[in-house]
Symmetry: C2
Subunit: 655 residues, 2 copies
Amino acid sequence: MSTNPRSTIPFSRDALDQVLKRRFFFAPAFEIYGGVSGLYDYGPPGCAFQANIVDTWRKHFILEEDMLEVDTTMLTPYEVLKTSGHVDKFADWMCKDLKTGEIFRADHIVEEVLEARLKGDKEARGISVAPVEESDDKKKRKKKVKEIKAIKLDDKEVAEYENILAQIDGFSGPQLGELITKYNITNPATGGVLEPPVEFNLMFETAIGPSGQLRGYLRPETAQGQFLNFSKLLEFNNEKMPFASASIGKSFRNEISPRAGLLRVREFLMAEIEHFVDPNDKSHPKFEAFKDLKLRFLPKGVQESGSTELIEESIGDAVASGMVDNETLGYFLARIYLFLTKIGVDANRLRFRQHMSNEMAHYAADCWDAELHTSFGWIECIGCADRSAYDLSVHSARTNEKLIVRQPLAEPLIVEKFEIEIAKKKFGPKFRKDAGAVEKWLLARTQCELEDLAKELKDEGKITFEVSGVEGKIELDTEFVKIEKVTRTEHIREFTPNVIEPSFGIGRIIYCIFEHQFWARPEDEARAVLSLPPLVAPTKVLLVPLSSNSELQPVVKQVSAALKKELIPFKVDDSSASIGKRYARNDELGTPFGITIDFESVKDLSITLRERDSTKQVRGSIEDVISAIKGITYENKSWTEGTSKLSPFETQAAE
Amino acid sequence: MSTNPRSTIPFSRDALDQVLKRRFFFAPAFEIYGGVSGLYDYGPPGCAFQANIVDTWRKHFILEEDMLEVDTTMLTPYEVLKTSGHVDKFADWMCKDLKTGEIFRADHIVEEVLEARLKGDKEARGISVAPVEESDDKKKRKKKVKEIKAIKLDDKEVAEYENILAQIDGFSGPQLGELITKYNITNPATGGVLEPPVEFNLMFETAIGPSGQLRGYLRPETAQGQFLNFSKLLEFNNEKMPFASASIGKSFRNEISPRAGLLRVREFLMAEIEHFVDPNDKSHPKFEAFKDLKLRFLPKGVQESGSTELIEESIGDAVASGMVDNETLGYFLARIYLFLTKIGVDANRLRFRQHMSNEMAHYAADCWDAELHTSFGWIECIGCADRSAYDLSVHSARTNEKLIVRQPLAEPLIVEKFEIEIAKKKFGPKFRKDAGAVEKWLLARTQCELEDLAKELKDEGKITFEVSGVEGKIELDTEFVKIEKVTRTEHIREFTPNVIEPSFGIGRIIYCIFEHQFWARPEDEARAVLSLPPLVAPTKVLLVPLSSNSELQPVVKQVSAALKKELIPFKVDDSSASIGKRYARNDELGTPFGITIDFESVKDLSITLRERDSTKQVRGSIEDVISAIKGITYENKSWTEGTSKLSPFETQAAE
């Protein structure tokens, strides 16, 4: 149970949910049809907040680093995702209760049941469990475990459960099956036996075209579209390395049992960077500037020992010690930290958790998640992985298109290598329309493969192979092909770049910021505030005439025009509600500034500026007030710096 | 065949395609896998151009009118699209050649074959047909008709064909079948007989959730998500009418045979506005300000008479005469015109075409398409329809949720009406968990339905009905329900708003702008220019040091910093290519300004500003040059106004 430092009133998820719903930040999609779990619509303030975060992301990452932004399709053919590994491996484990037909996500049910038993154990031991969090959890997570039984466990069992929970993200399906058997985990509602976990692919499938024969999926990530365009991007970048591409767009995941609101959804906005780098040189020119930044790490060794204690140290030290694999990865962790804290994440509730060995893809060199703490626990919001050369290599192997970098060598290199020579003229008559494909296949072989083929050609007098898309086996003898080891002087180095990939789940970040910035005024629990930073707040200013007297209208118009000219998003509230009510409404909307127009304003064109969090008020000319708003919102000025030209103002009106 | 007014060299679609490909504006998606027709990726300049157009759209429409932007999901359950009519009616007609298995879109094959015959007729009559356009067409449209046969037709037949082609968008499937039979239209490649047209639903289908039982589609438009949130949006707008919501996002259409590049794709970006308005009052407060704007119309009467002659008149006259149904519709046509011409559409190649009676949805009051002329003919880029109360009504009827506006009446109204009285207490015991649904169903009945029910109750002593989601027939007698005609004084008016919907296909607009703004320098056909307006050009400035001498570097850095500070997107090109080559590259990228830094710059910090279209150059201080760029790009200044502080400059370097 956490409390915002601005208030003594404990955080209430129920209260937050009510505000987000009442102000239409977001709502279940198709609600009048009963809704579909895992699908949400953003209303006007949520949509504007999201747009501002995306805009900040674009400036912080894309513009700052001159990244190449692309917009690629969501519909993706089967072949691409088969090659990338998603058809075979992008799956969760699910268990079915054969009697009721209910489907559970295997890791979730293990986690929930063990957590419930630990809570029951605490109760039995007379250790108090916070009741508010409990009831929130039950209501909002749609938990399967409806009741905590106060049963004391062995100390040994408690330790085992805690150890399992610390590693819950790392278990395979069969391992989860063993845990289910070993700890007798059943359907919490009925006690029914669960079938062993089976894999469920999380991609949405569809058919492209009228014949229904081209199988496709909705992309599970934007990354593949970037990899497939690698050669075009390298050319666009005038063949210069390293460089990064970036993409912002929706991705899809057919979750088994979506829960926890925006944290686990089936359609979500991602922002992904693919930074292409020389595998022999993962240094980063700007790393030096950030090396003293302190971050909080949870490395894999600590987790594997069953602990979750954080290590706080500078990113420079973390890279120097090898805990973080390389400078480029470290650079991005630092930049991620700066981005998150800029848009409203509480630095004290942010940690970088390293993937454990059993959790990390086999090709990944290293992987760190930026996790944010919420009332649901620690939530993975950003993955930052070194994907090595995996993706470019597999797509290249599958398509026979070279996805490589060619760089002039500083000094020529003398190398021994296998080379293949093809009797092109004979290919046409022999293979007809397939000639090109066969040739391409031969020319795409690696050195190791050529060595094997050379041996085969020598031993058998021919080579035999298959080419995807060409029917039957192909046999070629020395009339068609020669493969020999030769000595060459090379002036060009060819290599497949490695990829460092920071991948952001925008919706999750948005929800965590809501939790981090939500509080209630100590003097009145019912008065909630969403302290969104001015830079990303949906609306920057609420303009309120003190009364509906038409005398005030010309000043309202003048201030409106001035705000519009400066492109500062604002709303006018000239409703008959009291000033206090109007401000309270906008505190919930996260509007950082209020401008009050009163009868003095008509005389001298002075207006009052109110700050949302402190409710402080200052007064000055229209020009100075707008300049203060601009400075604080867009130029990173503090309240004191921004309002230096304005005078303190005591309000008479009760808030 | 059209030519850009800036050049005497005729437009070449091949040349444009090569530039768009070479500069990676866009490319076929999954190209290294052979591509998938109808799917395209945007590279960095295309992506930036698209982002700038979207940004301009947001300012021109959403900010200007204070519209409520929402972001709703693409995944949509079956029930929603069944109700909206898309499951039954969002389809094209396709014909199959049973022998070859080939599938043709019925209207396309009729159009193509008749067009080819008309061309053949012209050839036979010795009327020349432009050969360049021909060959482009064949190559790029993937036309099914590969060969034009010079066969003279009867004059009567020519007239018939021309009449059919003028109305080609208006035929139903059976009508197309009749044309195919009557004019003996066959598979152009084989002469094979085509099966009668059958409907093919254009939505991509998928299954939501692990059980596979919740059928869903990818949305074909963003509109439905806006309609379903109507009540929340009205509340957010403090119940004020009229108001508009807006949404920008991808939609999907499983085209039968995509062709013509970006003009007919399976996944596309849409920007849609739903303007909710009182059906009794479709006036618009800002119409007056635009009423003198002259537009070019192609009304339905003209088309139905077989002509395509345009009528040019003011939007004020068009609404006054009833040609355009109402002010709000007229207002949006005017705003659309201003938006399009701002982002680079040639006003002379823009027309507003009204839907013919047989083409318009039965519920629509009026519908106009903004069409842009290209080498493919006139292309529908924006639809602007009055959808009446259709969508809100059908969703309300299906879900029993009221989607209405309640407004206080100026004077109370005495009305006779049917009212229903429910014995709530008896509903619980009788219907248990279904009690709420039955009650809701009863309370959602219209006056006409209540009249019928009242009669039934009186005649039979009971009413019998079914409620979706509740099993079996429901019978209620007078113990449970009373329905009577009463006289009431009403203070509130309830109504279902009408919807005016301007709907933009961003990709199509983008392609049309490319065609409108592409030309070759008269002195050299190979030097192509893309005259994108500065406001939306992907990059605004190319910064070129005259030589790679390191002396120039400090000035390059200084100018870069100044541009960055002003958030003006720019690129530095310090490659060794000649100045002329570097500018030529950027003419193709549509970069409107060049800044040259030479050895004079090092001495006095003066720099040269080059304008892309005229290649004019002027010179001045860094500050004045940047201020000129800002003024022309963002403040709508002309070149002359913007550069008033700069001096003419004659370059020595050959371009």
